[in-house]
């Protein structure tokens, strides 16, 4: 049932005149207020970067040497969870010491095809070692279509200082949690050493004796 709830007749042309005043206000306003002229002339001017932005992943390393300080232990969880399967990892045969000295595997190959990556950040979520994080660099065009967008582990490795630069709060949280984890591990090893030292005064040390 079509009801006729038109609100009387209005003056013909009134709506058009209202529209014209609106556009005139916007026109005049564009010269005086930034609200009415929202163009940012890229690339000379840039928008202030937002901290949480994610574009493509990168591998975090601690310290100065990217190979020695890389946090990634090639557990391949990110490779399995990645929805478009853009990560390819080859695990090493030997182990090398990580930041706290514990011997870990490391990736001999860690390739991300950024033409496939959809920036979903699931790899970051599932990584247990805080080794892979999201970068904010987006001006990545290359003229090499055969491999220019396939980033290897050297191109992907960036320092923890860089991570602090681009995601300050997130990096601070990560550092805090890593430090807390390390503190727990330290406390545990200290307790084990003390227990062993105490037992060692009476009996020769036995290997693989679990402390508490």
């Amino acid at each position: 049932m079509i009801t006729d709830n038109t609100v009387g007749g209005i003056l013909l042309g009134e709506g058009i005149l209202k529209g014209l005043t609106e556009t005139a206000k916007n026109f005049a306003g564009s010269f005086v207020s930034a609200e009415r002229l929202t163009t940012v002339e890229y690339p000379e001017q840039r928008v202030a970067p937002i901290e949480a932005t994610r574009v493509f992943p990168f591998l975090v390393y601690d310290g100065k040497d990217w190979e020695a300080g890389m946090r990634c232990v090639a557990c391949q969880i990110c490779e399995k969870e990645c929805p478009p399967k853009c990560i390819y990892i080859e695990k090493s045969k030997d182990k090398k010491p990580d930041a706290v000295g514990k011997p870990q595997f490391y990736p001999t190959k860690f390739d991300i095809d950024i033409s496939v990556c959809m920036s979903c950040q699931i790899c970051v979520e599932v990584c247990p070692f805080e080794a892979i994080k999201m970068d904010t660099e987006f001006e990545l065009s290359t003229e090499d279509r055969f491999g220019g967008l396939l980033l290897g582990r050297e191109q992907l490795s960036k320092s923890n200082e860089y991570y602090h630069e681009i995601h300050a709060t997130e990096a601070a949280n990560v550092d805090a949690s890593l430090a807390a984890g390390r503190a727990k591990v330290d406390a545990k090893t200290t307790a084990v050493a003390i227990a062993a030292a105490v037992r060692g005064a009476e009996v020769p040390p036995r290997p693989a004796e679990g402390g508490d």
């Binding site: 079509i2 009801t3 709830n5 209005i10 013909l12 042309g13 009134e14 709506g15 058009i16 209202k18 529209g19 005043t21 609106e22 556009t23 916007n26 929202t38 937002i50 901290e51 949480a52 932005t53 994610r54 969880i77 969870e81 990645c82 929805p83 959809m118 920036s119 979903c120 950040q121 699931i122 979520e125 599932v126 999201m134």
Partner: protein, 391 residues
């Protein structure tokens, strides 16, 4: 009148199709393919139209140009891994897609969601609705030839909302934010303040568009009485969303199902009485105003707390065998997900009920007998996104 009442009323009189318009037989019909390359189709979409002079005699929609195998891919991906793919269904409203999928999985497993997460979902869902309706109105007027002025105003506001999304989820459009059992990250107080600021500026924008357009005689002449969709036909065809409400049927899933915490919010459901393109346009404007009221309420009432159940599994998520259908009131209509799990890490069957596709099925009925210049307007008023139609 409720939906059931409507159905009962109209079963008595018979579900009438509008009369098929026959050409007078003189002269051949002009057969035109509008699209897939066409400045005004909302993506790659083709309409095979048969014209008699200026009137539309037959219209066949042809789509599938954007088919990306979403449902099959989901059968080979884990439940979590499908979440970023749902962003890309209705790529303008990624957060509501995420919500629908998360809701369905939570239904499948019986997972509870903490309160703060529910409030955040409502806030993000309504922000998505505002920016979707603003863009839709902008595109409709752009097709009418206003050289893009309302579109630019809509996009100016949309940019602010997208910046908010980026600040919280990390991405402007492909947000991938909802998880099974809550949200991915918590919102900082700074973000909530920024949201309050943006929301306070939105009523001014809607007033501006209102003054510019709603009583514009040319707009009224172009859209009133055009593309009438009778309520019985809308219900029969399974149309949902603003299109259904513009045809006068009171059916809003946020009121009917009350999913999430929507029953705590007092918002009104606007209904149209003339069932034409102008009603659909105005219903979207009025719904934007209602969304802003809900946003203000949610931003006031949001409690502290966790946003994710700490026991919820991210990896190794294997729901018990079963099936679930979860639906929400997406900005375009009823977005539903149907999941069958067989106990493995991937779903056995994953089906999306796309509102754009279902709403598109009655395009022909709306366009019969209309002027060809109006076909573009009617198509614009359905408000589709090809990512959803083709999946």
């Amino acid at each position: 009148m409720t939906l059931t009442g409507f159905v009962q009323e109209n079963k008595k009189v018979g579900w009438n199709r509008p009369p098929v318009i026959e050409s007078d037989g003189e002269g051949e019909l002009l057969e035109v393919a509008m699209g897939p390359h066409h400045p005004s189709t909302h993506g790659v979409f083709r309409m095979d139209v048969a014209l008699d002079g200026e009137r539309v005699i037959r219209l066949k929609p042809v789509f599938g140009y954007l088919h990306r195998n979403h449902e099959k891919i989901a059968e080979g991906t884990s439940f979590l891994g499908s979440m970023p793919y749902t962003d890309r269904l209705d790529y303008i409203c990624s957060l509501t897609n995420n919500w629908a999928y998360a809701l369905t999985v939570e239904k499948l497993t019986g997972q509870e969601v903490p309160e703060r997460a529910e409030y955040l979902r409502v806030i993000l869902g309504e922000l998505t609705r505002v920016q979707n309706h603003a863009s839709s109105i902008g595109f409709l007027i752009q097709e009418m030839g206003a050289s893009g002025t309302p579109l630019m105003y809509a996009f100016r506001e949309r940019e602010k909302i997208l910046d908010l999304f980026e600040g919280l989820t990390g991405s402007r459009m492909m947000c991938n934010y909802m998880r099974f059992g809550g949200c991915r990250v918590d919102a900082s107080p700074a973000w909530l303040d920024a949201t309050r600021k943006v929301v306070s500026g939105l009523p001014g924008f809607i007033d501006e568009v209102d003054r510019l357009l709603s009583s514009n005689e040319i707009l009224m002449a172009r859209t009133q009485g055009v593309g009438i969709l009778r309520p019985e036909l809308a219900v029969n065809a399974g149309v949902t969303g603003p299109m259904l409400r513009a045809s006068g049927v009171n059916y809003d899933i946020r009121k009917v199902d009350g999913y999430g915490i929507y029953n705590r919010f007092n918002f009104r459901v606007p209904l149209g009485d003339h069932w034409d393109v102008y009603d659909r346009f105005m219903i979207r404007m009025l719904e934007m105003r209602e969304s802003i009221r809900m946003l203000e309420q949610a931003l006031r009432e949001i409690p502290a707390g966790p946003v994710m159940d700490p026991k919820a599994k991210i990896r190794g998520f294997r729901p018990k065998p079963g099936e679930a259908y979860g639906r929400i009131e997406a900005p375009k209509g009823e977005l539903g997900f149907y999941l069958i799990s067989d106990g493995g890490p991937n779903p056995y069957r994953y089906r999306v009920r796309p509102p754009s596709l279902i709403n598109l099925t009655i395009l022909e009925d709306m366009c019969l007998g209309q002027n060809v210049a109006d076909v573009v307007l009617i198509f614009g008023s359905v408000d589709i996104v090809l990512g959803e139609v083709d999946r």
